[in-house]
């Protein structure tokens, strides 16, 4: 990595002017990017990582502007360039890839034209020539049969393909620098692995420098050469990747890594969590900005800002009391739930052959309809009292639909859902309403799942009112008790949801699910909308409440590490079918189904030595259509072990150990 950096930022300061305040989004950031290297920029939401990227491109949101510093690219300071000159650099020398591939492509323009657009602009190519080059670039990013895709519109492509188109668009002019802002956050892990691999390959082929902006430590661990950790608008630590993971100096980096649940984590231990929330950047605290949340902070930290410094020039940290190396894992604190004992617990929920299909097209004209989406096709499973059952799978595998059926928000088209002695599927009217007491749900989006016009007190007491439980006084007492349990102040009852942070709202969501003392709580992606440091707070809370109240959870998530941490048993779903179920160790260490093995292999691990040493072939390709799923084993189209038998026969679940089942004709291990 010798030679001059291609991009160098000095003391960059970016502000965003809001109606009444000025947010100091980026506050004195220095960084450099060498040709051909990948620089990871990590941090939680609002830390200024995206704003740094947008400042380089001068694409700041309304009200945002760079107020100081230098951005030097190829001998020129981009801040001083006029708009016209900068436009010649944008998309030509420096390109950017964004997170959400659905909104990042123009919905009414064919992808061919969108990819050809920068070529016509910067390379002055004629239309036919630009289209020919677009085919080349689409081929380069791994889009099958690119010529046929030119006239497709973005909505006709899957999320993974759209992300590839976005990358193709950015790469069309062979830029020297690619800024990738959360390029894989909206994608499934299987697709994420493929996109990251693609970025790596293209970087090598085109000799680009990549600035990889992400919140996911696992992503940078495997892909970045160097990492900058940002917190509250500043870089708090910068170092080589391996060095950062093994000998970090900043307590924030240390805490951030410690709060991510790891696959080899002892599930009986509490996750480390950083108390509090990041500071308000309209009025940042004096001194070290992490001091209010730091366990090592002293008065010196709170009044004096630490400079970015260090012994070696390659590894700098902004801390008065630097640490060295990761935090020791805390000892077990929670009562460990003996998995063996689970077998003797009473069965709470028994699902037998549950089926749910959504018709597509006009119900009045069935002969013109292409069929139905087979969301859930014959899933059977048993959940015992007091255990946590995790459901994992790619988006579109039917895990959410199954969860909604369990809480009776969705009627099954076939099969039985038995809760204790009642079949939920056949309940109607008053009996259904009474049974809903036992079936509660915790939702993913902490913003959309709480009525913005209702006070928290009313949100929490509404279930009691609906079910006719207690009088006003006893209800208020119950609300106060629950708020205390989920760690919110008593005066929360009079406040509205918007006055709370995302993590606090998720606590409210959990309290709402708990208030009726339900038998089962279905938690659909309970922490995926939260930042890492907040995530561990909520996960710890969920575990604690379970231990205290003997709760039964069904946790649905695409984040396998979260599911592994929370669950006693895990079910893996693929295209509407349960392909494997077993204990966390069965699934992660002894998978029998090739899909499970591939899925586990694709999870980015926040440990460079593990992440880079990965050998196992991950799951390739994309999920087939759930309207016409493949015959026999639905995974066979992506399976390396598939044979004729897989297309002819639907594999049945077979035992591979105590409580370990998998549905595969050619499993990775011999059935028991």
């Amino acid at each position: 990595m010798a030679g001059e950096p291609i991009l160098e930022i000095r003391n960059l300061r970016t502000e965003i002017e809001l109606t009444s305040t000025v947010v100091h989004a980026v506050d004195g950031v220095d960084l450099y990017l060498n040709p051909g290297e990948t620089l990871g920029v990590v941090g939680e939401s609002g830390c200024g990582k995206s704003m740094t990227g947008l400042s380089i491109m001068r694409l700041l949101p309304p009200g945002g502007r760079v107020v100081g510093g230098e951005i030097n690219f190829a001998g020129r300071n981009l801040i001083e360039l006029g708009d016209d000159e900068l436009r010649r650099i944008r998309g030509n020398d420096i390109a950017m890839v964004f997170q959400d591939s659905l909104t990042a492509l123009n919905p009414t323009m064919t992808i061919g034209r969108q990819v050809a657009e920068p070529l016509r602009l910067h390379r002055h190519m004629a239309k036919a020539q630009a289209m020919a080059r677009a085919v080349e670039v689409l081929d380069l990013v791994g889009i099958p049969r690119p010529t046929e895709r030119l006239d497709d519109y973005p909505h006709q492509l899957s999320g993974g393909l759209r992300q590839r188109v976005l990358i193709a668009m950015a790469l069309a002019c062979e830029p020297k620098v690619l800024i990738a802002d959360e390029p894989t956050t909206a994608l499934d892990v299987t697709i994420q692995a493929q996109i990251l691999e693609l970025l790596d390959r293209l970087k090598a082929e085109l000799g680009m420098a990549v600035m990889l902006i992400t919140h996911d430590m696992g992503v940078v661990a495997g892909r970045a050469d160097r990492i900058n950790v940002m917190y509250a608008g500043k870089i708090v630590e910068t170092s080589g990747t391996r060095e950062l993971f093994e000998h970090m100096h900043h307590p924030y980096t240390q805490a951030l890594l410690a709060s991510i649940p790891q696959l080899d984590q002892d599930t009986s231990t509490r996750l480390f969590s950083i108390p509090g929330i990041p500071p308000d950047l309209a009025d940042p605290p004096p001194g070290c900005r992490f001091a209010p949340r730091c366990r090592l902070a002293t008065d010196h930290c709170r009044s004096n800002e630490p400079p970015l410094s260090g012994v070696t020039p390659g590894h700098l940290a902004a801390c008065w009391y630097p640490v060295d190396g990761p935090l020791e894992r805390p000892p077990a604190e929670l009562p460990s739930q003996a998995i063996a004992a689970n077998g003797s617990r009473p069965v709470l929920l028994e699902i037998t052959d549950a089926v749910r299909e959504f018709p597509v097209g006009n119900p009045l004209l069935p002969f013109l309809s292409p069929g139905s989406v087979k969301a859930v096709s014959g899933v059977s499973l048993v959940v015992r009292e007091g255990e946590t059952y995790g459901l994992v799978g790619e988006s579109g595998c039917g895990k959410t639909t199954l969860g909604r059926m369990i809480v009776a928000l969705e009627k099954p088209d076939g099969g039985k859902l038995r809760l204790k002695d009642t079949d939920i599927a056949t309940l109607r009217g008053g009996r259904l309403r009474r049974t809903r007491r036992d079936l509660q749900m915790m939702f993913q989006d902490p913003y959309a799942s709480l009525d913005p016009r209702m006070r928290v007190g009313n949100i929490l007491s509404e279930p009691l009112v609906v079910q006719g439980i207690g009088d006003r006084r006893s209800r208020n007492a119950r609300v106060a008790e629950l708020l205390n349990e989920v760690g919110l102040p008593p005066n929360s009852v009079d406040r509205f949801p918007h006055e709370f942070s995302g993590g606090q709202r998720q606590r409210i969501g959990l309290a709402r699910a708990l208030i009726l003392n339900p038998a089962v709580i279905v938690a659909d992606e309970p922490v995926s909308a939260l930042d890492v440091s907040i995530r561990s707070q909520v996960l710890n809370l969920m575990k604690r409440l379970q231990a205290e109240h003997n709760l039964t959870y069904i946790v649905i998530s695409h984040d396998l590490a979260v599911v592994k941490y929370l669950s006693d048993r895990i079910g893996v779903m693929y295209l509407g079918r349960l392909v494997e179920s077993g204990s966390g160790d069965d699934i992660y260490n002894r998978p029998a189904h090739p899909y499970t093995a591939g899925l586990v292999a694709t999870i980015p691990i926040p440990d460079p030595s593990l992440e880079r040493g990965k050998q196992i072939a991950a799951v390739r390709g994309e999920l087939p259509s759930s309207i016409n799923p493949p015959s026999g084993c639905r995974f066979r189209t992506r399976c390396p072990r598939a044979q004729q038998k897989c297309a002819d026969e639907v594999p049945a679940l077979r035992p591979f150990g105590p409580a370990h089942l998998a549905a595969c004709h050619f499993p990775l291990q011999e059935p028991a």
């Binding site: 491109m57 694409l59 309304p62 016209d84 436009r87 010649r88 650099i89 944008r90 998309g91 030509n92 390109a95 950017m96 964004f98 997170q99 959400d100 909104t103 990042a104 492509l105 123009n106 919905p107 009414t108 323009m109 657009e117 920068p118 602009l121 910067h122 519109y153 909505h155 976005l166 668009m169 950015a170 097209g361 006009n362």
Partner: protein, 315 residues
């Protein structure tokens, strides 16, 4: 695409038949036979019975309804009670002039509102945006007859630039040649429509400007002009398509007032006169034409939208 259009058209026909049934039923309830209106209140029961028999008002209701449909299909709306002419003939004479007035007004309104809305969104919260918003809210709050009166008061009576009466030419061609006298009526309709359209356009453009694809277009190095023309305009005009479709019948209703204020011989003025004369065949036909316009407006908007927005699935 063809099957989609055919199916939508079939649905539209069913809706129109439903409307006709409703009109027929309503009319029959309040007004089973026009005999008294035609023959006068002093007519003998025998004369009324004879009238009913010759005109078919004594036949079963379903028969009368089928006759009504059959006549309508053949554009036979009966005779005007006061104007000594068939309703069909009157409509044929006036429809072209009305269509010209509303068509020209609609096109001008869209041509002004689309760029205005986009410009307001791009320069949001600027003095220009506030002024345009203020002016359009101000005008939007005016009833259309008041707009007409103000236009006449200012431009014809005070400044004496333009005539206060619309063209009296009988042919569409004649009206076009007499363009100067059409400026005020067209302006009145344009003012009211622009105020509404530009508000929608502004909010739609604002939504689209916040989308990532605009940021991506800028990140490609496109100039602000190209971003607006190539990426923003088409996407943010999509809601306007529906709005224009839905406002087709509105323009007919607007014509009612504009045509009578400017004394322009169109369908609106015809209806207005008929209203005073209790000329039921004309009123009935006008109601039916209004209903058909609503259906056509929706149909045209839906088809145009599927052409403009590839995401809309043809179901």
């Amino acid at each position: 695409m063809i099957t989609y259009i055919l199916r939508r058209t079939a649905t539209a026909v069913i809706v129109v038949i439903g409307v006709m049934l409703a009109i027929f039923a309503a009319l029959h309830l309040v007004y089973p036979s026009p005999a008294r209106a035609v023959l006068g209140l002093k007519a003998t029961p025998q004369a009324v019975a004879a009238f009913n028999h010759t005109h078919g008002y004594d036949r079963p209701l379903w028969h009368q309804f089928l006759t009504y449909i059959n006549q309508t299909v053949h554009l036979n709306f009966g005779e005007s009670l006061k104007q000594n002419q068939s309703v069909g003939q009157l409509f044929k004479e006036n429809a072209g002039r009305s269509a010209l007035l509303s068509g020209v007004a609609l096109v001008i309104a869209v041509l002004i509102a689309v760029p205005l809305g986009i410009a307001q969104a791009v320069k949001r919260n600027s003095i220009f945006d506030y002024t345009a918003t203020g002016v359009s809210f101000f005008l939007y709050s005016w009833p259309i007859f008041f707009v007409c009166l103000v236009l006449i008061a200012v431009f014809s009576l005070k400044l004496n630039w333009l005539p206060f009466e619309a063209s009296q030419a009988t042919s569409v061609f004649g009206v076009v040649r007499d363009a100067k006298s059409m400026i005020l009526p067209v302006s009145a309709l344009v003012i009211v429509s622009v105020a509404a359209f530009s508000r929608y356009m502004r909010s739609s453009a604002l939504d689209n400007l916040a989308q990532d694809y605009i940021k991506v277009a800028r990140a490609k190095g496109l100039s602000e002009r190209s971003v607006l023309f190539r990426h923003l305009t088409r996407n943010s005009s999509l809601p306007i398509i529906t709005l224009v479709g839905l406002s087709l019948p509105d323009l007919l209703a607007g014509n009612l007032i504009v045509e009578s204020v400017f004394n322009y011989q169109g369908l609106g003025l015809l209806f207005f006169t008929a209203l005073g004369n209790e000329d039921y065949p004309i009123l009935l036909a006008y109601t039916l034409v209004g209903a058909i316009l609503v259906v056509i407006g929706n149909l045209v908007a839906d088809i145009a939208l599927t052409l403009a927005d590839p995401r809309i699935r043809l179901i």
